[in-house]
Symmetry: C2
Subunit: 298 residues, 2 copies
C-alpha cells in the first residue's frame, strides 16, 4: 500500500481510539481533560501507532484489536511534546500548527496534562488488548515502552539535549548529538514497532530485530528533522522554523553541513532496512513507512 | 509490631531497593540521575511501600521478593512531590527538610526528573517480582497503580487542588476539597495496599477491600496533614509551615475549623479500620500503620 494511504487509514483508526481513551471534557477536573484532549487531538501523523500496527501485521492478530494499545504510544508522544515545549525547556509557542498547551492552559495545567497522558498510557497498555492470551504480551509491551520512554530512553535523551550544546569539543558534540537522537527519538520509535510485534505474537528475536529497525529509523528521522528545521518554514513544519539554530541547539546540519547530514540519514535508513530482510515481502509496509518518514523530512 | 519499628524496618529495606533501582550518578545523563537520586533519597517515611508490604503480609509470598515493586510506589510519590513543588504549581522551596529539586537542579531538570521517576516506576512494576507466577499479578499491579496515579486519581486531584480555591460557595468548597484529597492522596495510598495484596496472591474481593482501606486512610491522612500545616513548624514538617494558608488553599481547618477536622479524620480512620475486620488479627500491622499515619499528623 502507498504509505500516504496507509498513514491516513491508521490516523482515522487511531484518532477514534484516542477519542475513546481520553477522559471526557465535561467530567471533573474539566480543565485537565480539555488540556489533554487539546494536545492529543491537535493532529499529527500518528507515526508511532502506524509503525506499531505495521509491526503487528507481521503477526497473526487482527489489527483493530491492537489499535487502542498502539494509540497509547501517541499519548506518550504527546506528553513528551507538551513537556518539551514548556518555558523551562524549549519554550516553544507553536506545535502542530497551533499554540502549545501551556500557551492555552497555563504552565501548571500543561505539566499536569503531560503527567496525566503518560500515566494514562500505561493504564491503557495494561488493559489493551483484552483477553487471557494477551496477558504476558501486555506485560512485555509495558516493560519495553516504559524502558524506551524513561531515563534510559526518551527522558534521558531530552536531558542530554539540554546539555549537549554546552560541550566544547566538536568530536564530543557529534557523539553527544547521536546520543540525544538515539534516546530522544530512536528509543520510542523502536518500542513502537516492538509493541506491535509483541502484541502480534512474534518471537523474542523477531521483536528485537524489529525494535532495532525502529531505533535506526528514529535516528534517521531525527537527522532529517534537523535538516528540515534549517530549510523549512513555520507552515510546512507546524512549529517554529529555524528555532534550533536560534537556540544554539546542536543539530546535524550545524555540525556536519546539510549535504553530509542528508547522507547520514540515508545511511541510517539503509541500516534500518537491513533489519527487515528476514521478513521478506511481508515487511513492505514497514519499509515504506520508514522511507516515507525520512523522505518527507529531507 | 510497634508501627515505628515496622516503618523503620521497611525504610531500610526500601532504601536499599531504591538505591539499586535508580540509575547511577556517574552514568550519562549524569544531571538527570543526580536529580532523581537527590529527591528520592532525601528521606521520607516510605509510608506507601510500608502499606504495600503490610498488605502483602496477608498473602503468601516472602516480603523481600515484593520489596522492589513496593519501592516503585516511592518513585511515583517522589515524582508527584517534585512536580507539585515547581514554581508553576505550589512553588515550594523546602521538602523533606531540604531545598526542592528545582531549587538545586533548575526547573527543566526537575520536570525531567519527575517524568523519569514516573516512567521508571512502571518499568520496575512490569519486571518485579520476577518469576512466571507473578506475570498476571504484575500486570494487575501496573493497571491499578496507573489508574490511581493518572487523571482519574492523583493527577486529577492535583489539578482540582489548583482550582478548588476559586469556588465561591462554601458547600461546593467542602465537596471540592474532599474530591481533591480522595484523588490526590487517597487513590495512591489505596493502590499501595492493593499492590501488596495483588502481588501477595490475595483474591480480587480481598484486594478491593484493602484498596478501600488505603483510600480512606489516605483521606484521613490528608485531613490530618491540613491540621498539621496550621499548627506545625518548618522543622516538624520538613516543608514550609502555614503555606496552605498563605496560598489561600482550601484546607479542612479553614473550612470546618481545627476540632471538626480532627473529628473528621478520626471518623474516616474508623471507616477504614472497618474494612479490615474480615482479616482479623493478621491485619494488625495495617491497623497500626493507618492509625500511626493519622496520629502523627493530628
Amino acid at each position: 500500500m502507498d504509505p500516504t494511504a496507509c498513514l491516513e487509514r491508521t490516523r482515522l483508526l487511531i484518532d477514534r481510539c484516542l477519542d475513546r481513551l481520553l477522559p471526557k471534557e465535561e467530567e471533573p477536573p474539566a480543565t485537565l481533560h480539555r488540556a489533554m484532549r487539546y494536545s492529543v487531538l491537535a493532529g499529527g501523523k500518528r507515526l508511532r501507532p502506524a509503525l506499531a500496527l505495521a509491526g503487528a501485521e507481521l503477526g497473526s492478530e487482527p489489527i483493530e484489536t491492537l489499535a487502542p494499545a498502539a494509540a497509547a504510544l501517541e499519548l506518550i508522544h504527546t506528553y513528551s511534546l507538551i513537556h518539551d515545549d514548556l518555558p523551562a525547556m524549549d519554550d516553544d509557542g507553536l506545535r502542530r500548527g497551533k499554540p502549545t498547551c501551556h500557551v492555552v492552559f497555563g504552565e501548571a495545567h500543561a505539566i499536569l496534562a503531560g503527567d496525566a497522558l503518560l500515566t494514562l498510557a500505561f493504564e491503557v497498555l495494561a488493559r489493551e488488548p483484552q483477553g487471557e492470551r494477551f496477558v504476558p504480551r501486555r506485560l512485555e509491551a509495558v516493560r519495553r515502552v516504559a524502558k524506551a520512554a524513561g531515563p534510559a530512553g526518551m527522558v534521558g535523551g531530552q536531558t542530554a539535549d539540554l546539555e549537549a550544546a554546552r560541550l566544547p569539543a566538536a568530536a564530543d558534540r557529534v557523539a553527544a548529538l547521536e546520543f540525544v537522537h538515539r534516546h530522544k527519538t530512536g528509543a520510542l520509535l523502536g518500542a513502537s514497532v516492538a509493541l506491535g510485534a509483541v502484541l502480534g505474537g512474534l518471537s523474542r528475536s523477531e521483536v528485537d530485530r524489529l525494535e532495532r529497525f525502529g531505533q535506526k529509523v528514529g535516528l534517521a528521522f531525527q537527522i532529517a528533522d534537523d535538516v528540515l528545521d534549517v530549510e523549512g518554514s513555520d507552515e510546512t513544519l507546524g512549529k517554529t522554523a529555524g528555532k534550533d539554530q536560534k537556540d544554539h541547539k546542536l543539530t546535524y546540519p550545524a555540525l556536519l553541513g546539510v549535504e553530509a547530514s542528508r547522507r547520514e540519514a540515508k545511511r541510517q535508513l539503509e541500516e534500518a532496512l537491513g533489519e527487515l530482510e528476514p521478513f521478506g515481502a511481508k515487511a513492505q509496509v514497514l519499509r515504506e513507512l520508514g522511507a516515507f518518514a525520512i523522505e518527507r523530512r529531507s
